[in-house]
Amino acid sequence: MARITAGVATSHVPAVGAAIDLGKTAEPYWQPVFAGYDWSKQWIAGEKPDVVILVYNDHASAFDMRVIPTFAIGCAERYGICDEGWGPRPVPDVIGHPDLAWHIAQSCILDEFDMTIVNEMQVDHGLTVPMSLLFGQPEAWPVKVVPLAVNVVTYPPPSGNRCWLLGEAIARAVESYPEDLNVQVWGTGGMSHQLQGPRAGLINAAWDNRFLDLMSGPNGDALRAIPHIEYLRETGSEGIEMVMWLIMRGALGRDVRALHRHYHVPASNTAVGHLVLEPVR
């Protein structure tokens, strides 16, 4: 049977991808950002997951204003890299796992989560930056990916509670997949940042670190109860991306062990947060 062996949370700042692509990771500005991923790169090289269910948001790339799915699951064989305005990132295409993806989609729909099924799309920095942070710059990605795109751009995004419950439904789906697969769930985006208006540049390290604490323990009720307005006021308008971490956290079950934690300000306009968690059963 397939099994969820770990959860990873990480910011997906586009400038982090650019720093990798342009060979700037050793520069003094960037070095402390990337140093926090050294442990994780070693760890994942040993873990060798078969599939990552990668929760991210599309930043007006595959989805524009014509169609706004709340939860969209990628069921394609492969995903190209989109041109976000400065040319596509020079990273390999992302290889999907259509069998597992369709299985999750079907299982979640029967579990009353009305997923949007996507058979053709390109992926943006929201998905590729976490891949680069964990796997570096390989010729081909060493893992298959089930992209799960969440709308956190047009209000209202899904509630934290809904995200958590979707994570639980994904866990049930994975556990009922017959093939023996080592599956990780990643939640990306965040932490505190605001990319718009006179309040841009907001960072709330105290709030972010409390959130990292809650994520690292049996605190589902507290995490699920955080309303959108709290993310907006405390962590900036783009801090709302952290609801996506709750899908990953919900998929891991009540108890987790934090294997690694990293927090750094700034990367561009953003606070970078990163966790590696494993379920305790």
Partner: protein, 136 residues
């Protein structure tokens, strides 16, 4: 947590956050074509056509004159007021060769140097900018 949320009360709170335009349905409807115009800049060919004659390119879209002027002026706060969304507008500032850091800073009234320095020093504190009503 689960159960009914009053949409009016939910939306009303967004107006209480200083210096912030939450991308609500009302803004999404107002800015529909502004954001779709920005999406068109995701190909090199369209970026070249836009740069060659910005005004003519914008005239091909059903935008208000105010929206066109805000885009031509790269007045991003004004663009947000007219329904733009930053992830869509990112296609415009990327076409200009600006990073998120450079473009976002223009909305704060700070110089690029001061904004960058603020971020390196830990960013803007949330103290005093959480709520207009509660002054906290």
């Amino acid at each position: 947590m689960s159960g009914h949320t009053d949409i009016h009360a939910y939306l009303a709170e967004f107006d209480d956050i200083p210096g912030t335009r939450v991308y609500t349905a009302a803004r999404a409807r107002q800015g529909y074509w502004m954001n779709q115009f920005a999406m068109s800049l995701m190909t090199a060919e369209n970026r070249e056509r836009f740069k060659a004659d910005e005004r003519a390119y914008l005239d091909a879209w059903p935008l208000s004159e105010e929206q066109k002027q805000a885009l031509l002026n790269r007045d991003y706060n004004r663009c947000l007021d007219l329904g733009g969304n930053i992830y869509f507008l990112a296609k415009l500032f990327s076409t200009d060769g600006l990073s998120f850091l450079q473009a976002v800073g223009t909305m704060t009234g700070m110089s690029p140097q001061d904004y960058q320095a603020m971020m390196i020093a830990g960013g803007r504190s949330p103290e005093g900018v959480r709520s207009i009503r509660e002054k906290r």
